[in-house]
């Protein structure tokens, strides 16, 4: 089975769960005065789940024919390992680490680390330039966001800040 039909199958599962919630469990807690309304919070989701299930089935059963040509510029997922898969996965992992560390170690350190490691993963070896660019970028963005725009971004690790 081709990848697009697997995806249709997964979306079909999700929409079945979604539809089950909309049709059977959601209205349980509806207060009586709202039950007299012509529209319930579940009305629109009910319609949506039916439409989604129908269109997922159309793809899954192959009712609409599609021409199976692979465009030359796009990536062929069947040969994914021939691409730089390792780098991509490492960068995604780095983003997750960034998300988890942003609060505890502060914006400046997390951003500096992210930019340096990100470039290093991609094969940049001029560490001097790299450190300078990363430090400048982290500093400038922090200054712009915090000082100019007034959106709070905690710059230092949490144990530095008092009450912050």
């Amino acid at each position: 089975m081709a990848l697009d039909r697997w995806i249709a199958l997964i979306i079909l599962m999700i929409s079945l769960v979604y539809g089950y919630t909309a049709f059977f469990t959601m209205d349980g807690g509806l207060p009586p005065f709202m039950q007299r309304n012509p529209i319930w919070p579940s009305t629109f989701p009910k319609m949506l789940s039916v439409l989604t299930i129908v269109s997922a089935l159309i793809i899954l059963l192959g009712i609409e024919k599609s021409d199976d040509e692979i465009k030359p510029s796009e990536i062929n997922y069947r040969r994914l390992t021939e691409y730089k898969l390792g780098q991509a996965l490492m960068l995604l992992g780095l983003m997750v680490v960034y998300a988890l560390l942003l609060r505890p170690i502060g914006f400046l350190a997390a951003t500096f680390g992210f930019l340096v490691l990100g470039s290093a993963i991609l094969g940049e070896r001029r560490y001097g330039v790299l450190a300078l660019v990363a430090a400048l970028a982290a500093g400038i963005v922090w200054y712009l966001v915090q000082q100019v725009l007034g959106i709070f971004l905690s710059p230092w690790p949490t144990f530095f800040a008092v009450g912050g």
Partner: protein
Amino acid sequence: MLEGILVGLSTAFSISNLLMVIGGCLIGTFIGMLPGLGPMSIIAIMIPVAISIGDPSAALILLAGVYYGAIFGGSTSSILINAPGVASTVATSFDGYPLARQGKAGKALTVAAIASFCGGTIGAILLMIFAPALASVALLFHSAEYFALMVVGLSAIAAFAGTGQVAKALLMTFVGLMMATVGEGALFNMPRFTMGVMDLQSGFGFITLAMAMFALPEAIYLVLDPSRSNSDTGGEIKDLRITKAEAKSIAPVIGRQSIQGFLIGVLPGAGATIASFLGYAVERNIAPKEEQEQFGKGSIKGLAAPESANNAACTGSFVPLLTLGIPGSGTTAILLGALIALNVSPGPRLMIDQPEIFWAVIISMYVGNVILLILNLPLIPYIAKVLAVPRTFLIPFILFFTLMGAYIGQNNATELLILVGLGVAATVLRFADYPLAPLLIGFILGSMLEDNFARSMQLYDGIGFILERPMTMGLLGLASLLVILPSYRARRARLRAEGVADAD
């Protein structure tokens, strides 16, 4: 009216007000380039500055300049790194980014600047002529028609997003709509489909989803396949100028979309986003067959259409604000707040009681557009240089800006995890050739669609509103035609290709 225009001219052309326009455009352009800060947040940030000026015309002129600048700035990041920071520039990235990848970033930015300028200017002319009359027409649109209008927009996008794959595009639209129902809606104050996760209480963030659907998969693609970046141009910027033939081909597009965008912008609630999507879909549909294939692969028509439409719509959204006191979009709602803080009450009497404010704003729209063009055209080669940055530096920065965009809006680190998760899902969808734009558009329009649907259900006590309002029925009929026609056409083409005789 002539007297009013003269008063407006003298107000708008005072040195201090000219400086306001220039300053507003500059601030708007630069902040608008950062993904995650759309016109709405930039204007909200600028309100304290504007109010402290004290003079309502100057303040409004400043804010209008910021508004225009922000929209243009948003197109820049859509075109260069496929990271639309604002909903109304999502359609810009459909053709703008492919152009940039072909080494025509300079040309793409030029087309965008010119299309925005024309859209804004034509919009301002229309605003001047039709403002009072249009206000009453806009009131004819009730929630039932809004609902139908959005259904038309969604089906137009689904029908034209992927050639011959309507089912996939429709499925993506529905998934987007489903995602929009997560969290607390405006009409029902109870959380839906949050699965008990607190962070989903307010729903998915628009910026998070936009970054996950466009910028992140693109960055992953760039990592996976190094030959994609700086493809065959070495990052050199060429083709800055538009040839005569190209100018000739986009002129009618700009003309049509300026008018259509303006009219859509006048409708409260519709705004620049719908205008840009509809503009793109309409132009794609009426283009000749061979040009239709170019849409989505770097057609300058496909770039000019949403750009002129969204700028014209922004101008159009001032009509209900200035003439009725009804804000048509989030941005104009914030402007309304600023106006009230400045002791101006917009409404039918504004034109009569304080003509200098009304006309000064309109005149400053012309000035703002001209200044944006003068500022941006010389800057384009420098802005486009972004693409010449080596990929080892560019990719981490793109990833960092997507993270920042998602973080600034919500100030919530969980949002970043959601971003990465959705980004991976979007990449897999892209592997399987599912169009991602319909998903995002479904998500953007989803809550508006449901609110208007719910409102008309309540007003007409059931689904009967579809039968009772002819305009709604007409629009819904058009929507179903849009979905059925392309698959019918594709089917017939296939049958013909297979040599099966078809009777017509």
